[in-house]
Structures are given as structure tokens and as C-alpha cells.
């Protein structure tokens, strides 16, 4: 059984059709990359999977581990193992990372019928996971993303991903705005979390990220449809030729 199956997905926003029939299947253990020019629906697709309701899904379905994703709320999807790494992580002044993450973990545990994690366990987990992305020691008490540099924000996304240990990670333009050192740290974080039981969907419009995180499949999302799927070499071809030849 595949982990995620998107079938003929159509969606629009304010009457404008953005996705025009997307089909995509992701199996466990796979890394997929979706590339394509800006404004062609990549981030929209990511948001719909995570549950953002600003879009109208007009046709199609998404099956995740045998469940109809549209029957699940945003937080239920998260508890079922879906994680979205945001292109623009949101600043939440006054909410500490520790409280944010502890609440997230324990609410996910509650959903699964597990007891809350103790403070000790939680602190240990935080210590361990923040090393993956080389985030500073004061992380726990800082407000979520407030005053973070672009690089720190993206590292923080990967840190949260590590804390929540998702089954499907969707990383939306995680490479944008990163210098080469930050990119390397973020990529090695993602690689460290790869397993046979989890899958990753990378959304990017640069081939650069894919030098660090090697995908199993590359898809091109162009004008609301996946117009081409290929091996990792497809990314290089796109880098060379651009997207226009796919039209």
C-alpha cells in the first residue's frame, strides 16, 4: 500500500483554478521532489495536504495510509504523521519553543492514546534533536521564530520535524534564502531523519538542494499539472534547459 496517493486533484482559489488534475503516489521510504516555476501550484499542493482551508478542492482525492485526508482536521493529519515544513515559518511572539513543542507532542500523543511525555523525557529529546540542526542553547525559551534569521527559521522547521518524527514530511522551499552552510546543515538534518518507514516530499525550484538530499523521483509541476516525472537526473536537465521546453 502506498503512503500517499493523490488522485486527479483540482483546486481553485477565488474561482481561479490552480491545480488542474494532479496525480502523485508516494511509497514509504521514498524521497520525492517537486520542481517547477513559481506560481504553478507547488506550495498550494503542500498546503492542501497539510489541511489549509483557504483553497477550494473542486475535484479529486488524497488517500493517506488508506484514509481520506479530507476527513481529517489539520491537527489530526499532524497526529497521523504528516509534517509541513513551511516556506515562511510563522513568528509567534510570547509562545516559547519549549511550550509549543511540548504541547504539540503531547496533543499528538493524546490522539494516539498515549500518556503525556514527562518534562524530563521532553527536555532530553529537545537536547538531542536540536543538535541535528545545530541550533543554539537558548532555543527552548525563545519565542517561536521571533527574531530568528532566515537560516534559523528553516533549521527550526527541521528541528520540529525531528521532534515530531513524522511519517510524511513535506518541505516547502526549505532551501530558499539559505546560505550554503545553512543549506548543508538543513539537508544533513533531513538525511539523518530518512528511514524506510518515512517519506519526504521536497518542494523546490532549485536543483541545488537535490545535490544534498538525493531524491528517488523528480516531478515537474507546471501550470497546475505534473507534466513530467523522472529520476534525479531530471533535476539537472531542468537546471540546464529551464521549464519552457515542457510546455
Amino acid at each position: 500500500m502506498s503512503l500517499l496517493e493523490i488522485k486527479n486533484l483540482h483546486c481553485s482559489i477565488n474561482g481561479k483554478e490552480i491545480l488542474k488534475g494532479v496525480d502523485l503516489t508516494i511509497n514509504k521510504g521514498e524521497v520525492h521532489a517537486i520542481m517547477g516555476p513559481n506560481g504553478n501550484g507547488k506550495s498550494t499542493l503542500a498546503s492542501i495536504i497539510a489541511g489549509r482551508d483557504t483553497f477550494d478542492v473542486t475535484q479529486g482525492e488524497i488517500i493517506y495510509e488508506g484514509k481520506n485526508l479530507f476527513d481529517l482536521s489539520v491537527e489530526e493529519r499532524a497526529a497521523e504523521g504528516i509534517f509541513l515544513g513551511f516556506q515562511y515559518p510563522v513568528e509567534i511572539p510570547g509562545v516559547s519553543i519549549a511550550n509549543f513543542m511540548k504541547t504539540a507532542i503531547n496533543e499528538q500523543r493524546k490522539y494516539k492514546g498515549l500518556d503525556p511525555m514527562s518534562s524530563m523525557e521532553f527536555m532530553k529529546l529537545m537536547e538531542e534533536k536540536k543538535k541535528i540542526v545545530e541550533l543554539g542553547t537558548k532555543l527552548a525559551s525563545r519565542s517561536v521564530n521571533e527574531g530568528f534569521s532566515g537560516g534559523e527559521k528553516k533549521k527550526n522547521e527541521i528541528f520540529q520535524m525531528a521532534m515530531l518524527n513524522p511519517t510524511l514530511s513535506i518541505l516547502d522551499e526549505t532551501d530558499s534564502g539559505l546560505d550554503i552552510d545553512a543549506l548543508r546543515i538543513v539537508a544533513s538534518g533531513v538525511n539523518a531523519l530518512r528511514s524506510n518507514e518515512s517519506s519526504t516530499l521536497l518542494i523546490t525550484h532549485y536543483q541545488r538542494l537535490l545535490e544534498y538530499i538525493i531524491p528517488d523521483f523528480v516531478h515537474v509541476l507546471f501550470e497546475g499539472k505534473i507534466v513530467r516525472t523522472g529520476p534525479k537526473e531530471l533535476a539537472l536537465e531542468l537546471e540546464e534547459k529551464g521549464y519552457e521546453w515542457l510546455r
Binding site: A50, G51, R52, S73, V74, E75, R77, A78, A79, F83, L84, F86, P89, V90, E91, I92, P93, G94, V95, S96, A98, N99, F100, M101, K102, T103, A104, I105, N106, E107, Q108, Y111, P116, S119, F122, M123, M126, T137, K138, A140, S141, S143, V144, Q160, L164
Partner: protein
Amino acid sequence: MDNIKKAIRPKEEDFADFSCYLTQLETYRINQFNGFFFEKNNNSVLLDRNIIICSIKSAIEKHKSILESTKHLHSFNNDDEGLFIYIPNNITLDTPLQVLDVIKTNEALKIESKTVIIIGENSHVKLIYCDDTINDNISKTENKISVFLEANSSLEYYKMENINNSSSIFTDTNFVLNTNAQLKTFWLSINGGDIKNKLNVSLEGEYSKAELNGLYLVDRDQIVDSEVSVNHNKPNCHSNQLYKGILDDSAKAQFKGHIYVSKNAPYTEAIQNNRNILLTDKAIVNTQPFLEIYNDDVKCSHGATVGQLDESAMFYMRSRGISERSAKMLLMFAFCTEILSKSSIEELVDTLQDIIKRRLHGELSSCENCVLLCSTPCGTSDVDMSKIN
């Protein structure tokens, strides 16, 4: 309502069952029951330092010269009840003073009281003024409070309104600041049917500074009115108003913020902000900034917002598995912490956080599912930040 009975001096023992919620905080307690001052004998430390705490009546008898040394804005009668606090020059009190204004009544009651507070030159004091009701009976309180800060003095002033929702309280507070005096106020309107505050700050000495903070958390049919006015009468003074509120159900709030800069007050810096979150379509907030500036060499700004909880923050939190309700709680609490972070009394902040958390928790009967972990009754222990860093 206007025909309700006026309070008479109650018996002290009737208030024996009152316990203050600021249990973690060491304070010098000053008791007022139904608006009447009650002498407490255990504050000998204060007496040793020539601090005067007495009723207005005995202040008029024994300390008339001190009372008259200030240009007080409220007039007094010989039979006035109420409270007089005098801090002589050069006194620094590390432990806060706490005025407990407690109301207990078996029938509808009207309470009028006056308070005069004088902070001497170069003295530094923190004062927490709590309004509490013990039972659910109707009371209607009118307080007039005059506070004088002499040169180089400082005062951190807390007003905590925590009365039952059948009762109303109107507080008219005047602060007068002399040269280089520093005032910081915290107005916390949490419980009460009809809460009105008129706050007037006069900056009468150069380099005086007033930082005025307010937080109102109201629901059901509560009404809270804040009328704040700051008068810059001398050069080089600084004022900053920050009032924030969360309104649920059909609650109503009004904020009128007035900044007056006299032509004699160049180099004034005056800031005003009022921020509101409305949780329902029925909640109403009316915010009115009013700036009256008669000098060109000033820096003034004002801003007002009325909005809902940040949708993108809500989605971000929910995408991590946090339920909608918990995400709301966290955001509302975060909204309040900006005010609390300005306090210098750590133990008080802890307690206030708990009070706010429980207040935000609102009508919900059980706290077992709440993510806002209070240190007392409801919750399990929160993450201990000191151990993480």
C-alpha cells in the same frame, strides 16, 4: 441601583474567611473592608521607618500638614473614610505594599472610598491594590485615588480588579509626578460586571516618566472602560500607554486615550497603543485615541488595533498537531505576556500568569485538557525553563 444602601463600618471578624490569592507573594498588607480602613499591627517595620498608614480621617487629625503639602485633586471631608499612605523621603521598600480592598455584603451595597498616597523624594515603592468581593452580592464601588510622586521617586503600581460580575467599580485615579519621578502602572481588569477606570497622569516635573499598562480580559456581558489621560506639562517627559484586551461573548470595552502636550513641554515623548482581540462577532470594542499637542518639538505616536487571532499562527500550530482550542489558548496567553513582562515582581508575575491562564480557560468546566499549565490546582507541571537552558 442608586437607592442602594451606603456601606457602614463592618466588623473585622466578618472578613476572617477572606484569603488573598497572592499567597506566594510576601507583601505588607493593608486592609480595607467595604471601603473602611482597618489598622493592622504587624507592620512595625513600616512604622520604624516613619511610614504612615492610616485612615484619611486620622490623617486629617494627625498629619494635616503632610496632607496639605500636596496639591491634591480630590477634596476631603472630616468624616471621610479611606486610606492614607505616606512614604517619607529616601525610603526603598523591597517588599511591595498591598492594599486589599475587600467587599462582603449580604445586601446590595454602595461603597465610596478615597485614598491618598504620597511617595517622598528619592523613595522607591511597589504597591499592589486589589479589589475583591467575597460573595456574589451586588456592590457598587467608587474609589478616588490620588497619588503623588515627589522628585526622584519611583512607584510600580498594580491595580487588580477581581470582583463578582453583579458588581460595578469605578476608580478615578490621579497621579502627579514631580521632577524625575518614575511611574509604572499595571491595570488588570479580569472579573467584574462593570469596570470603569479613569486614569489621569500629570507630568509636572521635568524628566518624569510614566509607563501605563493595562490588560482586560472580559466575557459574557462584562463592560470595561478605560479612560487614560496623560498631561505633559514640563519638558523632557516620557509617557507610554499600552492597553491590551481580549473580549469574548458579548463583552464590551472602551479605551479612550488622551495625550496632552502643553506648549511648555518641548522634548516630550509620548506613545500610546491599544490592542484588542475579539473572539466573537458580538464583542464590541471602541477605541479612541485623542492627541492634543501644543508644542512642535515632540515625538508622539499612537496606534490602535482590533482584530482576531492570527490565522497563520493558528494554522502553523495546528499543523504541528496542536488542537484549535489549545492553539487559541497559547496565542491569547502570549498576547497577555507582553504586559506581564514589564513587571519587576517575579513572584507576582507567576501568580498573574496563573490567574490569566485560568481566566482564559473561562467557562470550560474542566482544566484537565488545558495546555496552559497552571502551577496550582488544575495542571500538571510545566516545562521548567531553568533546566533546559
